[in-house]
């Protein structure tokens, strides 16, 4: 018994020793995990003993303590989302080990550096985003117009008499709009002098927008100043009927959903007549704005992530109104026309590393304009086909290359009342382009993007090669610097080419340096300085029939400036606001300018303040937008110095209210907005009136908003 007890003790002891042989004492590992670059602690990083489930996570200070009950040898792995994991081997029986780890950000991570110079993104997930798609709807004064919401960003002119995007010293024709990477040649409804126009596409069609104010990728061309890329929604997954009732019209659309596909159709009718009859108007309407539109949308998902998209829209509308002609008489402007737009794209993975994108678009536009005795009928057909490949060569190299072909047919018939004088012109231009761009992520903190673009125009038989380059360096967790440079060419607009086919492409060169810090979810600050050189700008004369006739490419100019943007969602509870300020110093000699001056569409100082406040108990969002710019220059005929006068400053305070409610159990948004709350008399500028034959004294027309104050009321119902 005794012996056996001793044996028991011995056996238990030996088994404890045996277990001890497996456990081999305890080792305490402790230390901290930090970002290699910023040295900021990483909270919640995983510390793993390799090959086991054991480990811990780092605390609020980025530090950890871990007991290792292991063999002599063990490996500690530190991992954190968005960072490259690190392994540390130990061959020790030491009781305490101190292990401080610095993790390097992975270049594939969401936090990796993005080139932000010159670009504003609206998206849900993108790091460089400064706006969310919802912002376009909820920005006071934008009235659901993409362009109007983007105008609250720096680098753009407010230009309430235009409605299109005027970017960093460029006029409206210098911005190119693309839908899913393919040309949208008539993105705005037809523009008549002094009246703003609207974008043709509803923001609800898009899940993101990319708006560049300069220095953009070699993929895009034929724009001297800016590109706006709209990314349309993918396959819809909700059967939905939506009804919009507004004080200026109504829309109805329906979406059908199938397996991996969706189809939707919509139609709308707008008539400003009833509204105009209620309010005082600055415009003397003869026939109020009236238009019809319709659209079709089809999406089909394929295998391996392929996606086919088809979109078609058409509209027809007209308006007529009286304007002062300068000589004291009134002139009637009558405008009527229709547009058809088709856009279709397909993308699919060719291999694990290569994606192919194929796209085509077709625009047909037919506009009839009558201004006094002048009758003009313009027809334009523009088609574009585009092919693009994206290949991820390695973790750090990505190459994008492709080409596009664009054909434009232009036809215009001109006639004077009575048919005494008629004139017709036709021309066709083929524009071929090719591009290649390399994206090189040197590491997670530095990216370099050189690119080259080639363009050939059959009309002018010109070949142009534009080099582009961008560089971004991330210096902090949320701070990065970007540089961009490039050459940009643009063929003269068709309105010019119709009178003179020898007009060559115009050129701009951009230099941009920018800083971005923070992010959209909390606070974001951005500053950019730029220098822009214009060359080969079109010069010419206004002829007696009021049309500009180009003669040479002798014009040139420059634009220097800086843009500031600050957005904050934290400072004031439930309030999101942004402030943008732009300063620009720009002069150019172009059109019929007698000397190099500040062009009449430029305000040197522009300020926008946008605020949105959410009132939860009443499920409403209240928004305020204040837009201000210093006066634009104008020329008083007879003055000694050209364009030496300055119009008054412009200021507009707009407010809106969106109320979320339901009608018969369906989501309903009631939206009300008012522009010019303070009812200021706004003068936007003055326009020179070209001399009519027989007139001796030229004069100015005051440009003011079409309505002193615009009130919008809409009810949007979604039934599903």
């Amino acid at each position: 018994m005794k012996i056996s007890s001793i044996r028991t003790v011995f056996l238990i002891l030996s088994s404890v020793l045996l277990i001890g042989g497996v456990i081999k004492g305890q080792t305490m590992v402790s230390g901290c995990v930090a970002d290699k670059h910023t040295q900021e602690p990483l909270v919640g990083a995983n510390i793993i003993i390799k090959g086991t489930y054991d480990g811990t996570i780092t605390g609020e200070d980025g530090c950890f303590t871990l007991e290792v009950n292991e063999r002599d040898e063990f490996t500690i792995v530190a991992s954190f989302l968005g960072y490259q994991s690190q392994e540390h081997n130990f061959y020790t029986g030491e009781e305490e080990i101190v292990l401080n780890i610095s993790l390097k950000e992975s270049s594939q991570s969401l936090n990796a550096v993005t080139i932000t110079a010159g670009s504003f993104e609206a998206g849900d997930k993108k790091r460089a985003a400064v706006m969310s798609p919802m912002d376009i709807y909820t920005t006071a004064g934008s009235l659901g117009d993409i362009g109007a919401a983007l105008k609250t960003l720096p680098g753009t002119q407010i230009a309430p008499d235009d409605g299109r995007l005027l970017v960093r010293g460029g006029d409206a024709s210098e911005t190119r709009v693309l839908m899913d990477g393919v040309l949208a040649s008539k993105p705005y409804y037809s523009k008549v002098p002094d009246l703003p126009t609207r974008g043709r596409f509803a923001p609800s069609l898009f899940e993101g927008t990319f708006f560049s104010t300069g220095g953009y990728s070699a993929e895009y061309g034929q724009a001297l100043s800016s590109v706006l890329v709209l990314e349309s929604q993918g396959v819809a997954f909700d059967e939905l009927t939506s009804i919009s009732l507004m004080n200026i019209g109504g829309e109805l659309s329906n979406t059908w959903v199938g397996d991996d596909r969706s189809f939707s159709a919509g139609a709308g009718y707008y008539n400003f007549g009833p509204y105009n009859s209620l309010v005082k108007n600055n415009i003397n309407w003869d026939d109020d704005v009236e238009s019809f539109n319709g659209n079709l949308n089809f999406r089909q998902k394929g295998e391996n992530g392929g996606l086919f998209k088809f979109f078609a829209s058409g509209d027809y509308g007209g308006q007529s109104f009286w304007v002062p002609s300068g000589s004291g008489d009134k002139l009637k402007i009558d405008d009527e026309g229709g547009t058809l737009y088709i856009n279709s794209t397909y993308h699919n993975a060719l291999s694990e590393k290569t994606i192919v994108k194929l796209g085509g678009s077709y625009t047909y536009d037919d506009q009839r304009m009558v201004a006094g005795m002048h009758h003009q009928n313009t027809r334009e057909a523009v088609s574009e086909g585009k092919l693009k490949f994206i290949t991820q060569l390695s973790n750090s190299f990505k190459i994008t290359w492709g080409g596009a072909w664009q054909k434009s047919d232009f036809n215009e018939e001109y006639q004077q009342t009575g048919g005494e004088f008629t004139w017709e012109t036709n021309f066709t231009d083929h524009l071929t382009s090719a591009f290649a761009e390399l994206e090189w992520n040197l590491n997670s903190r530095m990216a370099f993007r050189p690119g080259l673009r080639y363009e050939y125009s059959s009309q002018t038989e010109e070949q142009k090669i534009s080099p582009r380059a961008a560089l971004a360096v991330k210096t902090g967790d949320k701070t990065s610097f970007s540089l961009a440079w490039g050459h940009f060419y643009q063929a003269a607009q068709t309105d010019f080419l119709k009178y003179n086919r020898d007009i060559e492409m115009q050129k701009a060169e951009h230099f941009i340096f920018g800083l971005q810090t923070g992010d959209l979810s909390s606070r974001l600050f951005r500053a950019e300085v730029y220098h822009k050189e214009y060359d080969h700008l079109v010069t010419g004369e206004y002829w007696s029939f009021g049309e500009f006739v180009p003669e040479t490419n002798n014009g040139e100019g420059y634009a220097n400036g800086f843009d500031l943007f600050y957005r904050d969602k934290q400072l004031i509870k439930k309030t999101d606001f942004w402030i943008s300020y732009s300063y620009i110093d720009s002069k150019r000699k172009f059109m019929d300018y007698s000397e190099k001056v500040v062009p009449e569409f430029i305000s040197p100082h522009t300020l926008n303040v946008v605020a949105k406040h959410f009132v939860l108990p009443i499920r409403s969002q209240v928004g305020v937008t204040w837009s201000w710019n210093s006066g634009r220059p104008y020329h008083m005929p007879g003055d000694e110095n050209f364009m030496s006068r300055t119009a008054p400053n412009y200021s507009d305070l707009g407010m809106n209210l969106s109320y979320l409610t339901s009608i018969l159990g369906n989501y309903t948004i009631i939206h009300f907005s008012v522009s010019n709350v303070l009812e200021r008399d706004q003068v936007l500028g003055y326009r020179r009136v070209p001399l009519e034959e027989g007139e001796s004294k030229a004069s100015l027309v005051t440009i003011s908003p079409d309505v002193r104050q615009f009130m919008f009321l809409g009810v949007f119902i979604s039934i599903n």
Partner: protein, 211 residues
Amino acid sequence: MKTLVISILVFFAAVSLSAKNYEETMRLTILEMYKSHTSGKLNSLAGKFFRIGESEQDKWLPYYYAAYSYVSITFNVDDSDEIDASLDKAQEMLDKAMGLAPNESELYVLQGLLHSMRITSPMRGMKYSSLSREALEKATKLNPKNPRIWFCKAQNVYHTPSMFGGGAEKALPLFEKADCLFDSFKAPNALWPSWGEESNEELLEKIKKEL
């Protein structure tokens, strides 16, 4: 002899303790997770599930539970930024799980739950309620007998204001259907997700009293 057996048992216990014991570790960690309510605890459990997932490599359940732990953090949090941050982590884990089991109904249920937790303001309601609905429809296609689908659907309807077609009355049949399915549901293994049954019963009783 007896002592030898004991010592051998002790030895094997020790070996099995230091070796991987997937089933047991998972079982205990899952139990602990269902009992935890604080962010700190759930974060560290999510970390543990992640470690198990990384170590096992071919199993979707550890990542699923890592995601579920991150989602459960948001049950007790009000700050919408904090909610988003936790749900972003959950989404990363869920994506890993989906990579391993792309046709698992439970993963789409969790996706549906994740989307609905993003509804922190009425303005977000429209977007995320339809995303949640889409995920739950997909889950239904994969396994219509999964009770958690109907529990989540019921909750979505219950938390939608009656003016938008939601409310207790409309949610009741869904809770009842979930209740039925919970009774007949046979989990394929011991580690299978089991959440929802208790809450479903509680809510069902509460609603019945209310109506």
